[in-house]
């Protein structure tokens, strides 16, 4: 009797399994992407600040120009909604000529100069965009005719094309859709990209449908199911089980090697790398003494950090600007790893037995473990970090309140030195000031060079100014560059992106009209 009951129960479970398995079969025109996140945020591209949102809006929106798919090289920027453009001799007036016949999703009509002007003005407004600071130099955006837009600048910017590309505030939205939908636009956006918003199920997935009228041709993928799976283990199992075609990867050599061993799987490691810097508050004792800051710099062993993170995904930081950015230079007086020198400097500064300092840090596992390695390295020369580990949102608020003398911060920005230098090392960006961004070091000694480089029209002089700024900042030990970490995504071999993925400013693979299943 009991045996029969057990058999019946087993048969019921198997029955459910078999029935469900049949029901969940999917056609191969649906691309399923797994992302390490709980949910998307605001899908208005001008509010897309998190990785999960950036990846998704890049599939739905266009800029006036775009990075060549698979590249983050500003020299490879190519036409997108604009088929061509002209710049005035002084570089302060730019005219963009739009393609004709480009359609927005959902019958919202043709992309016109009105939409472009509306979008760029919206992106420049603090109340309607998270990227308004990038557009500070914009004086006016004018509609010349339905297919021509003119941008007038107050002063030169290092890369005007960078501001109107398919990145951050450069995305073009439908004016009519924004006005018609109002607040609802953030949850059902309208763009002109290869994929259109279809639906979002909270905590589950964002569904996108192919934009059949896309101006580069109908996408070969007909649907994208963007799944929010915060658990790394579950996401990896789902990928292994072929429930995901593309998987957000972990920037760890062990993970990459393990994933590469799976049959028919490709792991893409690509730019932009995030540069982790240990920012030092140069106003706060004992770090107001440059000898102490130099001791910190000499105590850091970058090669050990890279070995710890894994050479497949990490490389040593060489300056206070990430490698490969326009304006980066490795020609800076970066203090080398020298523990004896670090101890001598500490003794010279009146700390022969070292000291203890309270440092606020986030509980995010990847950042916490990196900081713990730094903590160990500093302990070897007598500097004890008393880590106050707080929740991530608290960390962001407290470091902006200047509550931590050392701030570990990892970031990638638009690949031009100006953005990084301005946000992290310009006097205007010092935390707790009305114009604050993320200058935790309180350094301002390179302001003149950064400002001059921003408006310099001679490329060689501009590079020289950026290099001079980096040398000054490194010499003053405003921060200690640690290591750079690349982005990692895995995919099954059946997924062909349609381009070679070497970089992506949207921080995830671009799914274009050419992306297909092999």
């Amino acid at each position: 009797m009991r045996l029969r009951a057990a058999r019946l129960a087993g048969a019921a479970v198997l029955g459910i399994a078999a029935f469900g398995a049949t029901a969940s079969a999917q056609p191969r025109t649906t691309l399923t992407v797994g992302m390490a996140a709980q949910d998307v945020g605001r899908l208005d591209p001008h509010f897309a600040v998190s990785t999960i949102d950036r990846v998704a809006v890049a599939w739905m929106f266009n800029g006036l120009v775009r990075f060549k798919p698979g590249s983050i090289n500003p020299a490879e920027i190519e036409p997108d909604l604009a088929e061509r453009w002209e710049a005035s001799a002084d570089g302060r007036t730019w005219t963009f000529f739009l393609r004709r016949g480009v359609q927005f999703h959902g019958g919202f009509g043709e992309v016109t100069a009105e939409d472009v002007a509306f979008s760029l003005r919206k992106a420049a407004q603090p109340s309607t965009s998270a990227f308004s600071g990038d557009f500070r130099a914009f004086e006016a955006v004018e509609v010349v005719d339905p297919y021509t837009v003119r941008i007038r600048l107050r002063e030169n910017v290092p890369s005007l094309l960078g501001l109107v590309t398919n990145y951050a505030g450069g995305y073009i939205v439908s004016k009519r859709a924004v006005e018609q939908k109002g607040d609802a636009f953030v949850r059902a956006p309208v763009g002109s990209g290869p994929f259109a918003f279809a639906s979002v199920t909270p905590n589950q997935s964002l569904e996108l449908a192919a934009h059949e009228g896309y101006f580069r041709g109908a996408p070969q993928i007909k649907r994208i199911s963007y799944r929010f799976i915060p658990s790394d283990a579950s996401r990896d199992l789902a990928f292994q089980n072929r429930e995901l075609d593309i998987n957000y990867g972990r920037a760890q050599t062990a993970w990459i090697e393990r994933t590469q061993r799976l049959p028919n799987v490709i792991v893409d490691v690509f730019e932009p790398a995030e540069l982790a810097i240990l920012n030092i508050n140069t106003r706060q004792p004992p770090f107001d003494d440059i000898r102490v800051r130099r001791a910190v710099a000499h105590a850091i062993d970058r090669s050990e950090l890279v070995r710890w993170r894994g050479e497949a995904v990490a490389r040593e930081g060489q300056s206070l600007v990430p490698r490969g950015y326009l304006g980066f230079t490795a020609d800076v007086p970066l203090p080398g790893f020298d523990q004896a020198r670090a101890r001598a400097l500490l003794a010279e500064a009146g700390h022969p037995n070292g000291f203890t300092v309270r440092v606020i840090h986030t509980q995010l596992p990847e950042m916490l473990s990196a900081m713990q390695v730094v903590q160990q390295q500093l302990r070897r020369v007598g500097i004890t970090l008393d880590l106050q580990v707080v929740e991530h949102a608290t960390f962001h608020q407290q470091i902006r309140q200047d509550l931590s003398p050392l701030v570990y911060y990892a970031a990638a920005r638009f690949p031009v030195a100006d953005i990084y230098l301005t946000q992290f090392y310009h006097g205007r960006s010092i935390v707790k000031t009305p114009t604050a961004v993320t200058n935790f070091s309180h350094c301002s000694m390179a302001d003149a060079e950064i400002d001059a480089a921003r408006i310099e029209t001679d490329p060689e002089k501009q590079l020289a100014l950026w290099a001079a700024a980096q040398r000054k900042l490194v010499e003053a030990v405003c921060g200690v560059p640690l290591f750079e970490t690349m982005l990692v995504f895995a995919r099954h071999e059946s997924v062909d992106y349609g381009y070679e993925l070497k970089g992506s400013m949207s921080l995830g693979p671009l799914i274009t009209e050419a992306t297909r299943f092999r």
Partner: protein
């Protein structure tokens, strides 16, 4: 009966207001700014101030509190600060998943836990009892993120019977059931372990009572003594525990939801807390409190069914 239900619901209103006030205060005491979360790390103070104004976070606290209280009591929870989506529709989207999981876990817990608990009590200190105690201890000490991954490895990856991604299509009953099996087993086994222990100790206590001895002395068959006299009396603490546990499960099944990629109330609460989504947290707490009140009410009503001496008047 109806009067009892109405009185209980009315009595819950002050509790609800107290909880709402606590939630309102606590989410604002915790450091972290929702505007900064929304705008990201490159946001300028100007942009943060503009967004705070737009979200109404710059208004005096008492104004925000009164608005929130009035809106909550009229069932208007507003929209999420982070996603901009209406809170009610967000909750409505995940609540069936949470209720499915809670009900299924409870069912598994009761179906396994009660008989095993009785069985163990009837065989006190014998092999069956020892085995039940060891297994229930294992069930309680195994974290769901370990047992869940283990089940996924076995049933999803090895035998390919169930999917890893458990976000079921609510309009498809087969899919809903299919994706419920593994998470329900994971959570149900923990509940079964808990119920086994409670049932065992309640049964042991009841079986040592005088009225059981009297019943045996009167010649009532052992089976009838156990089921009619023993179990009925032992069930009161079991129902109390199940009621409490179900209340906890509604909000605390977050680990199971994460491991099996299921949407759910617990997951939304944790997400809202991480993102400092004040309006979402407040709305969720109202709904969560309401569910707890309903579960407690059902528990109280069940007492009456088990033991007619319990009056609702």
């Amino acid at each position: 009966m109806i009067g009892f239900v109405v009185r209980r619901l009315v009595a819950a209103v002050p509790t609800l207001i107290a909880v709402l006030t606590l939630v309102f205060v606590i989410v604002r005491i915790v450091p972290g700014d929702p505007a900064l979360v929304i705008l990201g790390d490159q946001a300028t103070p100007e942009a943060i101030a503009a967004l705070r104004a737009r979200l109404g976070l710059d208004r005096p606290l008492h104004e925000q509190y009164l608005d929130f209280l009035l809106a909550s009591l009229t069932g208007d929870f507003g929209t999420s600060l982070v996603t901009g989506r209406p809170i009610l529709s967000e909750v409505a989207g995940v609540l069936p998943h949470t209720l499915d999981l809670t009900a299924a876990a409870m069912l598994i817990g009761v179906v396994i836990g009660v008989p095993v608990g009785i069985w163990a009590a009837l065989h006190r200190n014998r092999a069956i009892d020892v085995a039940a105690r060891i297994l229930s201890l294992l069930g309680l000490s195994f974290p769901v993120f370990v047992s869940g991954i283990f089940l996924l490895l076995l049933f999803a990856l090895h035998w390919r019977l169930f999917p890893v991604i458990g976000n079921a299509n609510l309009s498809d009953p087969a899919d809903r059931l299919h994706k419920l099996v593994l998470p329900a087993i994971t959570l149900g086994l923990v509940m079964a372990a808990y119920i086994t222990r409670v049932t065992r100790s309640a049964m042991l206590q009841v079986l040592s009572e005088d009225f059981i001895r009297t019943a045996r002395a009167k010649g009532v068959p052992w089976r009838a003594v156990v089921w009619k006299h023993g179990l009925r009396n032992a069930l009161i603490p079991v129902v109390t525990v199940v009621g409490l546990y179900v209340g906890i499960l509604i909000g605390n099944s977050v680990l199971t939801e994460i491991v099996f990629n299921r949407p759910g109330l617990g997951k939304i609460i944790v997400g809202a807390l991480n993102q400092r989504d004040y309006s979402m947290l407040q709305g969720l707490m109202v709904i969560y409190c309401f569910l707890i009140v309903v579960v407690n009410l059902i528990t109280d009503l069940t007492y009456g069914l088990i033991d007619p001496r319990v009056k609702h008047a």
